[in-house]
């Protein structure tokens, strides 16, 4: 009896999970499907669109109109550059907060998180003017810097949580064994926290890859990443669904593939602390 009801429950849960999963995935799936049709077919009723002939026309169009390689390069530089910089600053910071906390460490952590509570547009004007005066508009240097700053609170929080899990005695043992602070971080702490650092890095690359607000505001062409490339296909009038979909598919494909291959690390990173 108990077994029968549990089987039913399993079926229900599985169905529900698949439904939710498909619902979440549906917009991406539809974007991919639209990208393989002509502009005319893309705005047809769903069934009519699916039965109309498939084509790579939109991809060809996007290729001729935009410099995908440049935007791809910019996205890679911005997301990897900012993540690496954020880790270089974040690892020692999180080390300090986890292992030599001061009386204000908790407040500091909360304050860092609070910067995420304000909408980005709130600081648009000072940021924009600052960028303009420093001649950083539409430059990769400027974008990497701003993305590093945006990433830091999340990076430090995640690393802090991972570091807290490492027994302090092991670091003390390293100190007794003659390790100075640098050796302690390089040879003991970092290798032990490597899974945590890896998931922090992956998550941050994805967040930086998809960051749209600042990339749209602070770049025009030279430093424009793939988010800007997608936005350039959105238009107030005319037919652009298929080309926009093709551009979106091309923009998300690299990160989707990376995410697929590293999903184990990512899930661990996202659920860390939730389940012990």
């Amino acid at each position: 009896m108990a077994r029968k009801s549990s089987t039913t429950a399993k079926v229900v849960v599985t169905l529900a999970a698949w439904t939710v999963g498909l619902l979440i995935f549906f917009p991406i799936l539809w974007t991919i499907l639209m990208s393989f049709h002509t502009e005319g077919d893309a705005i047809k009723q769903p069934w009519d669109m699916l039965t109309s002939p498939w084509t790579l026309e939109s991809y060809a169009e996007v290729q001729t109109r935009s410099n995908y390689a440049l935007h791809f390069y910019n996205s890679v530089v911005i997301s990897l550059g900012s993540t690496v910089l954020a880790l270089i600053i974040g690892i020692p910071s999180a080390w300090a907060m986890a292992f030599v906390p001061g009386p204000k460490t908790k407040d500091l952590l909360m304050w860092m998180l609070s910067t995420k509570m304000m909408p980005a547009v709130g600081v648009l004007i000072p940021m924009y003017l600052g960028f303009r005066n420093l001649h950083l508009l539409d430059s990769l240097t400027g974008l990497v810097a701003v993305m590093t700053l945006i990433s830091l609170p999340i990076v430090i929080w995640m690393l802090y949580t991972y570091f807290k899990e490492i027994p302090g005695e092991i670091l003390e043992a390293a100190r007794m064994d003659g390790a100075n602070l640098r050796s302690e971080i390089i040879y003991v702490l970092t290798p032990m926290a490597l899974p945590g650092i890896a998931s922090t890095m992956l998550l941050n690359v994805i967040l930086a890859w998809n960051e749209t607000f600042w990339t749209l505001q602070l770049t025009t062409h030279n430093a424009a990443p793939l988010t800007q490339f997608i936005a350039s296909y959105s238009s107030p009038e005319g037919l652009f669904y298929a080309k926009l979909s093709a551009a979106s598919t091309m923009a998300i494909a690299p990160i989707l593939i990376m995410g697929w291959f590293s999903q184990k690390q990512l899930v661990r990173g996202l659920t860390f602390g939730a389940v012990k």
């Binding site: 003390e172 043992a173 007794m176 003659g178 003991v188």
Partner: protein
């Protein structure tokens, strides 16, 4: 090498004085055990010597050099932790070689020294394993290996055997003692287990609430406890501490009689009834409820056949009664 002096060492955490003030001299090559109940400050004292905690005031000198403000790495001491604190991502070999790598020793020499240590500690077959693949006793050996390769001025042990099972603990206890006899290096060993203290130490430091109650060799502490705390702490089963009329008869506030110094007599003595009797074969432990001095513990020979409810008369052996004054101090 390995002479350590503590002068007026004080440690407080915020408002709490964990160690009010301690003066202690540890001689070269000595095996010193810090023993005391949980929270008495023994581990803190060890960590102060190691440099893992900063002194609130006072001085620590190692081999005549002021080490008060030296970082742990510069003190030339090695420590074995309760949790072993091995590096989980490194093999046994790399764990043992880590201090040598930090000291900048070249790889060939470091490997040679690690191999020698492994041989002494029976770890040769485990050198390529990670700590997670080892048993508790093997992990402890690796931790000791990591300490001995450095050839430190002194070894610090922080309750190193408390995570091991009883049988292994006895083995490791003997191994550490033998290691000390072989290396002749100063060792400071923290434990709450007075049996470990008695069996291993050249010198025992009994701590209570951050204060030294008594310093001496195991037998000095056993035969001449300075106060009721040491009397009750050293020795197993515990010394019987008796107050009241019987103590007053001997001109003391408290008298102490060890269970093994109580004799079962035919006449005279304190009358009582056996409450609990534990027959261990070699010994018999009795708990006897007496009229005169309350419940007391007795350690008798293995041949004693007394059982629950039997009447018995007990008398302390002549010259084996310890007398303590109102302040708890020995009146010897």
């Amino acid at each position: 090498m390995g002479q350590i002096t503590l002068t007026a060492v004080r440690k407080s955490f915020g408002e709490v004085d964990v160690i009010p003030s301690i003066d202690l001299r540890i001689e070269e090559g000595e095996f010193v055990v810090f023993v005391g109940p949980s929270g008495c400050g023994k581990s803190t004292l060890l960590r102060l010597i190691a440099g893992l905690e900063d002194l609130t005031s006072g001085h620590i000198t190692i081999d005549g050099t002021d080490a008060t403000d030296l970082p742990p790495a510069k003190r030339g001491l090695a420590m074995v932790f309760q949790s072993y604190a091995l590096y989980p991502h490194m093999t046994v070999r790399k764990n043992i070689m880590f201090p040598l790598k930090m000291a900048g020793m070249d790889l060939a020499a470091a490997t040679k020294r690690a191999d020698e240590a492994a041989k002494v500690l029976n770890l040769t077959n485990y050198m390529e394993r990670k700590p997670g693949q080892l048993s508790g006793g093997q992990r402890q050996r690796v931790a000791i290996g990591r300490a001995i390769v450095r050839e430190p001025k002194a070894f610090l042990f922080d309750e190193p055997l408390s995570n091991l099972d009883a049988a292994l603990r006895v083995n490791m206890r003997q191994e550490i003692t033998e290691l000390h006899q072989e290396l002749k290096t100063t060792m400071i060993y923290v434990t709450h287990d007075q049996v470990e203290a008695m069996t291993m130490a050249d010198k025992i430091v009994v701590l209570n609430a951050g204060r030294i109650e008594q310093v001496g060799s195991p037998l000095v502490l056993y035969d001449n406890p300075a106060n009721t705390f040491v009397a009750g702490f050293i020795g197993s089963p515990k010394m019987n501490l008796i107050t009241g009329a019987e103590a007053a008869k001997m001109g003391a506030t408290t008298i102490g009689v060890r269970p093994e110094h109580l004799e079962i007599v035919e006449s005279g003595g304190w009358t009582g009834v056996v409450g609990l009797s534990e027959h261990l074969g070699s010994d018999t432990f009795l708990k006897v409820a007496t009229d005169a001095v309350g419940t007391i513990n007795v350690r008798a020979g293995g041949e004693i056949k007394l059982r629950h409810g039997d009447a018995v008369r007990l008398s302390p052996q002549a010259g084996k009664v310890h007398r303590f004054g109102a302040d708890g101090k020995s009146m010897a």
